[in-house]
């Protein structure tokens, strides 16, 4: 039986084999994050390790793989419920030199910790996090007035919230037809999985997206079945 600390160690090692830029600084900040969380936000420590698992990085690498297959290069990304952004932010910036990744979360501690993991990207204004419930408030006003608009919306937490169609309708014409990358699961082993789906097709249906570019599933390291839909 592998405990969570060992699992996090393995996932971190795997992650750093994929980090292409500023490895040393990334490693320093990751280490400091664990030190700071253990000292100042100890009650979150185990949760941070839960976010640092092999399955977590597998599901994020899957995004990169399928975006590459579709030749989609995200530049300005809205991350919905992106948790600590510990894996995905770095992977997107390394792969696409992404201009901005804007995480919308509901948990203040998540925001604090995500800034620790991604300090280098925050300092370069490539990563930011706002507290906002995307099922009730629009995000389009958060786009730069004269600058880039969100071209990609990534939600790897669809099982934690209402159907994505709600978000799509809420933001309506405020967004200029971005690509959506959505992930969910059929695993109802956690209470907070309030919106499990039985297939990628159901996930696509819940999104109301007209043009589905990718629709697939993957069995992850923790034996959880994960679904992904990419569309616009």
């Amino acid at each position: 039986m592998v405990d969570i600390a060992q699992e996090s160690f393995v996932a971190t090692s795997l992650f750093f084999t994929h980090v292409k830029s500023d490895q040393e600084r990334a490693a320093r900040e990751w280490k400091q994050t664990f030190v700071d969380v253990e000292r100042d936000l100890n009650y979150c420590y185990r949760r941070v390790m839960n976010a640092t698992t092999v399955s977590q990085i597998q599901s994020k690498l899957w995004i990169i793989e399928e975006l590459n297959n579709l030749n989609i290069k995200p530049d300005c990304v809205a991350l919905l419920g992106g948790w600590y952004g510990n894996f995905l932010v770095q992977l997107l910036i390394d792969e696409y030199d992404t201009f901005l990744i804007h995480n919308f979360e509901i948990d203040e501690d998540v925001k604090t910790i995500s800034y620790k993991f991604n300090k280098r990207h925050k300092d370069r204004k490539k990563y930011k996090c706002d507290i906002l419930d995307v099922m009730f408030k629009t995000i389009y006003e958060k786009q730069s007035k004269n600058g880039k608009k969100f071209d990609t919306i990534i939600n790897t937490s669809c099982e934690h919230m209402f159907h994505m169609k709600r978000f799509v309708d809420l933001n309506g014409y405020g967004l200029s037809k971005p690509t959506y990358v959505l992930q969910s699961t059929n695993s109802n082993r956690y209470d907070d999985h309030i919106n499990c789906v039985r297939s990628a097709e159901v996930l696509a249906e819940q999104s109301g997206l007209e043009n589905i570019l990718y629709c697939g599933s993957k069995r992850l390291h923790d034996d959880m079945k994960r679904f992904m839909v990419i569309g616009d």
Binding site: Y43, R47, E108, D109
Partner: protein, 238 residues
């Protein structure tokens, strides 16, 4: 100012004796004039008011989420009054309820469960668990909770789908555990209200099933909506 005490009874979880006992407790423990109403799905007495049903279709019995939604109805001005105090049927009143009508009302009040470990509350925030709020006692002035009614009506589909309980909804939409000053609701101060099953103030005063008569109200709410469960113990203390 016209004071109004409201309770709600629906279904069969509690029988009429709970309403009558609550009314009697209010009469024995409130030194200012008040009107008493019970909002119910089955009105039979002069102080009964029929509960509306306009949200009922949103409730999914199988999921059981947002199961205490009927409490929302009481915020939509169903009865006369300027200063409102809601009490669950399973409370024990220890002290003069005048205290609640004298509170400064810049914001409405709800029970902040001081017995909760604040770290656990924050940790479980996004997991929709360990809510620090408890809607067993709510104090508001007329019109003050209209935004809540408006929010539920406007977003009913999402709210009934997302929040396991009403208290959880309040915690997410109308409270900020990281900064209470920034919240719509204010929690009743420590020392006002405690829980029979959960304690008083974490971590120092957590004795369970202990009466604290220097407090105003004891709650029996045990976060279950299963009819017939744990509704009898309070009767021993009436």
């Amino acid at each position: 100012m016209q004071n109004t005490i409201v309770c709600i009874k629906w279904g069969n979880k509690y029988d009429d004796s709970y309403v009558e006992k609550l009314k009697e407790q209010c009469e024995n423990n409130c030194s200012v004039p008040f009107d008493f109403y019970c909002l119910t799905d089955n009105p039979t007495k002069d102080y009964h008011v029929k509960l509306p049903i306009y949200l009922d279709d949103h409730y999914d019995e199988e999921r059981g989420f947002f199961w205490a939604w009927r409490k929302i109805y009481m915020f939509s001005e169903l009865v006369d009054g300027e200063q409102f105090l809601f009490l669950d049927l399973d409370v024990i009143i220890h002290q003069d309820l005048k205290y609640f009508f004298d509170l400064p009302m810049g914001k409405p009040y709800i029970v902040r469960g001081w017995w909760n470990d604040p770290h656990k509350v924050k940790l479980n925030y996004s997991r929709l668990k360990s809510t620090p709020l408890n809607s067993s006692v709510i104090r508001w002035d007329r019109e003050q909770l209209k935004p809540v009614v408006k929010d539920v009506r406007k977003n009913a589909e999402v709210i009934f789908f997302t929040y396991p309980s009403l208290d959880n909804y309040f915690n997410h939409r109308w409270y900020n555990i990281w900064n209470e000053e920034d919240s719509f609701f204010r929690g009743f101060p420590q020392g006002d209200i405690y829980s029979w099953y959960k304690g008083n103030i974490f971590p120092d005063d957590m004795d369970l099933e202990t009466l604290r008569k220097d407090h105003k109200i004891c709650l029996f709410n045990n976060s279950t909506h299963v009819e017939g469960v744990n509704t009898e113990e309070i009767k021993k203390l009436w």
